[in-house]
Amino acid sequence: MKRKEIKVALAGNPNVGKSTLFNILTGLRQHVGNWPGKTVERKEGFLEFNGVTLRIIDLPGTYSLTAYSEEEKIARDFIIHEQPDVVINIVDASNLERNLYLTLQLLELTSNVVIALNMIDVAKAKGIEINTSLLSEILGVPVVETIASKSIGVRELIHKVVDLGFGKIKTKRFKADFGHHIEQEIAEIESLLEDINTETYPKRWLAIKLLEHDQEVIKLVRKFPNSQLIFEKLEHVRKTEIHHDYEVEIADKRYEIIDKITKKVIKRKKIRGESLTDKIDNIVTHKIFGIPILLAIYGFVFFATFQLSSPIVDFFDNFFSWLSEFIKNFLLSIKAPEIVIDMIVDGAIAGFSTVMTFVPLIAIFFFIYSILEDIGYMTRAAFVMDRVMHSLGLHGRTFLCLICAFGCNVPAILGTRTLANKKDKIVAILINPLIPCGARLGVMVFITGIFFHGLEATLVMLSLLTISICLAGVMGFFFKRFLLAGEHTPFVMEMPPYHIPNLRSVLLHTWERVSVFIKRASTLIVLFSIMMWFLSNFPSSENIEDTFAAYLGKILEPVGKLMGFDWKVTTALFFALLAKELSISTLAVIYGLESEGSLAKLLPEVWTPLQAYTFLLVHMIYVPCIATIAVIKKETDSWKWAFFAVGYSIFLAGLLGIIVYNLGSLFL
């Protein structure tokens, strides 16, 4: 019987359109999780094609397949252990040399490869003509020209994948020639491996990796029986050829091989004038205008988020007040007990509806953000900021992690592992929570929108964001200087050419963020709202002062008073420890007990704009959510740093809250 499922792995460098291709192939039929035991995201999706199911696994984007990063290890282990039927290697045609580096390493592992020569249009615009059939002949595997962002060539790619999966196409094993000297060493090690059962590991690959001194492979081969001879040989090589650094030499050799290939397959036409990417780069990476442009772009993002979302937020508001009225009447009509009605209407629906009003904000924010990311602007932002970060003693990549934090601190902190230096990494982690995540931004946008309007609202948001970025800079400087002094780590970062974003990919990315938020909102937050309803209705539902919530808030009130907060606010801030967006639902439930109407109408009656601003500031700075604390603990591998992050941010928030409130009271 014919096999109906093909296992396909998608491999490629970062920024070559890999996730766009993945989204086009699988659409909404995808599952996002983590690689087992790892913090790297794992995406898997399905595609039905002529009665065949393609199970597509998106491998992490990598330049290489060494053992130095988690991503590279995951990618190569997957290919070795899971033995996918087909590996799609997506390659940037406009930057073929760099991309073939990974291709050569993939071909060392398997010859079941189909190459998607992507961005063929960008290559043409750069005057690069590629002889696809010759490239296919040299590498021994099918090559398909694609433009993933326009879904061009994708059908043919799928055809080739299916044909290869069913063995209708035969591939040749490509053997790279590393030159006489290296080949001799490889051959000797390979012959020593001959009598050893190396499981699914290709012997030549093991030999190359042993010569490259790959720590993982060394550990692995040590476990094989009778492998002592190999290590004696390696020891001999190391002692007699001290001047050889095989790892760098083999990397250089791979590029020599690539040069030979590209000389044959690439024809270059001289293109007059600068490319579009150069023209844009001349502006956005400008020495003087670079940073103002960066700020202007961020300003625009938040302005657009406000303007576009406010009618939708109003709609949700009205919808949910209609819904809660409707359900209340329904429950009254079936004579449900009053306590149940209260719990459902004032607890569950109140909490859920407040949170749901976030959805348009988060959706629009991430929609714009994903477009900027897809275009390729984010790496330019890191480039522009590196000068500033460098003078603070911080790495430019730290800034990328900080930008990421605007989405969520959890992946941003996980992203700090791109910093090779441990001390740099801890500094980046410690300052990361100072940058407000999507949830906090949502709360900030929501409350700012209640108290301030138009230009004023934009200025308030920008001032808060400037404070958060400055704090991150200042704290980073202090941590680096006094707590974790060390060397600068080298800044090396690839800057992809600009390209027009793919709408489908951007929408899927936005949907991913929103759906994660909704999942959290509908479970954790609703449960929490009910709990809050309980805490604020017992032991007494008559007297608000006589509830568990009030007891808690009152314990914290003396500190809150210094910032102009009463116990209701301190209670909300206390509960936001679990997840920052809960502060709003907590406020809704607490105030909902006293007065009718939505929070948006009620807050201006009980808070002054100064109190609102102080609340926003404190809320932005103090303690990240439980999830963030957990990740900090995991990434620093110490509770000490996790507690430190919590402690210093509470202190900082309190201090700034007191200063701003008291200074503000003097002047306003």
């Binding site: 130095y68 020495k287 690839e494």
Partner: protein, 77 residues
């Protein structure tokens, strides 16, 4: 006239050929993987006080000044 200088010494628009990379083990490997190999042509697209932006093998790479001081290039007219 040709002379070997650190990459950071080239000015905007200047081109050169990599002669050697004089960096520690980790950085050398990373640069080699990205295609910074002896003999490769390199062009400086942007430089200033901060990091420099170079064009190498059809790709753009940003390098910190410290890194750019460790890559030695032969200047070309």
């Amino acid at each position: 006239m040709s002379s070997v200088v650190p990459l950071a010494m080239l000015s905007e628009g200047e081109e050169g050929k990599i002669v050697s990379i004089n960096a520690g083990f980790g950085l050398s490997r990373r640069l080699a993987e990205l295609g910074f190999n002896p003999g490769t042509r390199i062009k400086v697209l942007r430089c200033g006080n901060g990091p420099i932006l170079v064009m190498i093998r059809d790709g753009r790479v940003a390098l910190g000044r410290g890194v750019a001081m460790k890559i030695f290039v032969e200047r070309e007219k």
